[in-house]
């Protein structure tokens, strides 16, 4: 019997227990004549939880422990005495025997494995039966214990609610666990990377070419400055040149000028821009925008070395993607400026545009700056557009028609080849990930701080 069907069985028993306990609790009440403390449903939950939780916990532990126990008992079998002493060979044969025993393999490569199959099957059957019996025993004994406590004066509700509280707490701890997991996995691999490559070389080196270092770890190939520059050029400069004016002016028009009807149509339309998957933007950039920009650069401006994977193509498309972020942050900030300031300016005879330019925008500036910082952090963490439209060559150039590469492109590039997990290349990807994580985190903290202080100023 598989673990899955056993789980289903335990849950099935728990449901039966819920109904019986509920019925019993409901029937008890009139006999004793006094008011029961808890509703019958709570007694049902109490018994069902007692039945299911210990049994499922045991089942989880058992399913982790059982393969090891089975293996130990097979090794004690006479047929295993002939196995080679070397750990690697032995575990290869054991793995094969296990696959043969559960039927996922039909023919063995090592002949020793065939001999172990009967022992394997017997051991796994034996321990499987033990696991089933123990699970069911645990379920029934705990369920019976709880069932015997179903009495009118038993405070089942309080017990069940305490379990609910624990479940809520555990669920909310998962967020902390995820954060710890991210920081720990990034830090762990990054430290291993810096044991091989000096941290100064990584942060201040200007030559990036890890693909060339197949065997030796040439520290000169892990200088990440070109990546940082490429990320800033695409995400913080070109994308923002597109996104800030368009986003800000859209917000101004939609909040200050547009009739309500236009606003109610155009605002969702602009928000669609944020909902389009980035892979679609990437495809659009690579297929339509990049060739157009290259042709423009070669034919109109006369840049002969314009790349078809130019920084400009990726940056412009990323800027379009960012427009709604800037626009909605600017929208919120403008709305937060007290109406009295606007009215005062208008009453003094200023036109609408003068009020916006001289009063509203300066007053809302901290909020807008915070929004732009959030947008920058979004842009430098964006992956698919740059993977598909920006290049792989780590150039240190300010020419937007040339190809540059970014941190995210290199992370994808380093981790999607077929290399072992311990090479400097894969570890370098984690180091880049840590840098990205820290930078986006700092940008977010600063941005939220700025926005918060700005809000408080007007409240």
């Amino acid at each position: 019997m598989s673990i899955f069907s056993l789980t289903i069985m335990v849950i099935g028993f728990a449901i039966i227990a819920w109904f019986t306990a509920r019925m019993r609790a409901a029937r008890l009440r009139p006999v004793t004549g006094e008011r029961a403390h808890s509703l019958p449903g709570y007694h049902g939950w109490y018994v069902a939880l007692w039945l299911a939780i210990p049994a499922l916990l045991f089942l989880t532990i058992w399913s982790i422990v059982m393969p090891g126990v089975v293996e130990q008992s097979v090794l004690l079998d006479p047929a295993a005495q002939a196995l080679p002493a070397s750990d690697i060979e032995r575990s290869a044969i054991m793995g094969e025997a296990r696959a043969l025993a559960d039927g996922s393999l039909t023919a063995a490569f090592n002949e020793e494995a065939e001999a172990l199959v009967p022992a394997y099957q017997e051991a796994s059957r034996f321990y499987g039966v033990i696991g089933i019996v123990a699970t069911l025993l645990l379920a029934f004994s705990c369920g019976a214990y709880a069932f015997l406590r179903v009495r009118p004066d038993f405070r089942a509700r309080n017990r069940v609610e305490r379990v609910v509280m624990w479940v809520l707490l555990i669920a909310s701890l998962i967020a902390i666990l995820t954060t710890i997991g991210i920081v720990a996995s990034l830090l762990f691999e990054t430290i291993r990377f810096f044991e091989r490559i000096s941290i100064l070389e990584f942060i201040f080196g200007t030559h990036w070419n890890p693909q060339s270092t197949t065997f030796s770890d040439d520290p000169g190939s892990f200088g990440a400055i070109p990546l940082f520059w490429g990320t800033i050029l695409i995400g913080a400069i070109i994308a923002m040149i597109v996104a800030i004016p368009l986003g800000l002016m859209s917000a101004v028009y939609l909040t200050q000028y547009a009739p309500a009807k236009v606003r109610s149509i155009m605002k969702p339309v602009l928000e669609i821009l944020a909902g389009v998957p980035t892979v679609v933007y990437g495809y659009f950039a690579a297929l339509t925008v990049a060739p157009a920009i290259r042709d423009f650069a070669v034919n109109v401006i006369g840049v002969s070395n314009a790349s078809s994977e130019s920084a400009l193509a990726a940056g412009v498309v990323m800027g379009v993607m960012i427009i709604p972020f800037v626009s909605s942050m600017a929208d919120d900030s403008l709305a937060a400026v007290p109406g009295a300031m606007r009215d005062g300016s208008l009453a003094m005879g200023a036109t609408n545009s003068e009020t916006i330019k001289r009063v509203l925008i300066p007053a809302a500036l901290p909020g807008i700056v915070g929004g732009v910082l959030l947008a920058v952090s979004r842009a430098i963490g964006e992956t698919m557009i740059v993977v598909m439209a920006a290049g792989l060559a780590a150039n240190l150039t300010a020419n937007p028609f040339e190809s540059v590469t970014t941190v995210t492109v290199q992370i994808v590039q380093l981790l999607t080849g077929d290399q072992e997990f311990d090479s400097s290349k894969t570890l370098a990807a984690f180091a880049l990930g840590l840098v990205l994580f820290i930078v986006t985190l700092l940008l977010n903290i600063i941005a939220l701080g700025v926005v918060k202080r700005f809000r408080e100023a007007y409240e």
Partner: protein, 431 residues
Amino acid sequence: MNTAIASSTARQPTDWNAGPMQRRIRARYRAEKRFRFYGLFAVLLSAGFLAFLLVTMVSSGARGFTQTQIALPVNFAGSDIFLEPSQLEGEDRDQLLAQADFQGLAQQSAIAAYGEEGLDLLSNGAWVLLRDAISADPTLLTRNETLWVPASTEVDFAARGDSGAGQSEERDAMIVRYAELDAADQVRRTLSWNFLTLADSSDPTLVGIWGALKGSLLTMTITLLLAFPIGVLTAVYLEEYAPENRWTDIIEVSINNLAAVPSIIFGLLGLAVFINVFYLPRSAAIVGGLTLALMTMPVIVIAGRNAIKSVPPSIRDAALGIGASPVQVLTHHVLPLSLPGILTGTIIGMSRALGETAPLLLIGMRAFVATPPSGFTDPATVLPVQIFLWSDELDPGFVEKTSAAIIVLLLFLLAMNGIAIWLRNKYEQRW
């Protein structure tokens, strides 16, 4: 102070009708109009980008749903395939079908029908359709039958007509040849379900998105099953029960941070933890689902908290006042009232997860998967990753297929967001 008042009273009143003043006012009004126009221009430009993007995708993707087919008369009875219809009723039919040389049969039939160049007219995978036809109807083996099979990419290009002309001699020759075939009714262009029912392939005439779509569905199932309960429970805890202490602060800070972490970082987490520590299978839907669940959970928590917060305290107080316990207040009142908001947030989070590519690339879901996954641990790919993989293909036949896959993805996202908006409008309550 006094001097200021004195000087202002001494000043002449402004003559609004004087020439310079009128000019100044006109200039200011012009600036006003210009500014207004800039705003309108920005809105229209942004919307124009969106329209251009969608029009590009739809116009190049519409062809992806069609297929150029060529008539292939097949003489099954006189072929090298020595199978009897009765043999295919037994249990070993799959093995028999796998052994038979359908590829040779397809090539022979093509040469018989169209001469030596017939091989170039047929899609490389056309024989698969012969096999499927026989599998569906074994009696074909005794007959001559004309089947419609996919034509090669070259024929497909020629079917576009003049737009491809003049690029190379072979292409021009093929356009002429296509016109002949068309006149003889030996080719046709039809809407084909193949694109929706097949999986990935190296031949653009035979690719489909069912494999990727199924992978997406499996991945999203895992994501939903994990992210929704955890997200809702966390939101409930933080909003209703959390004491004000350092633990609660840490939880809140980490959720807000997780919502802002770039998605690719979650891919690194999935790779380092799920694959390298827990040894879950690479490329499998379960790892993708787990990774995306961690990414979606903060979105659901934030939406859930806002929805729970919008339930007025008077409802809680009233319930508590008539003797409900805190958990009863939650399950009987707060959760049902905030459910529409929570569901809206969940759908929006799920639609973001459905379009997500980068973290899935890192955990290996970019494998070539030619058969749709049948379980959570099978190698799988998802729609956006499939789009990414096809966009990398050199064969020009993949361009329209990529755009067609994008159309399917966008339709799914549109449907999900439409449901979210509908839910919000239907059930949103103002207290």
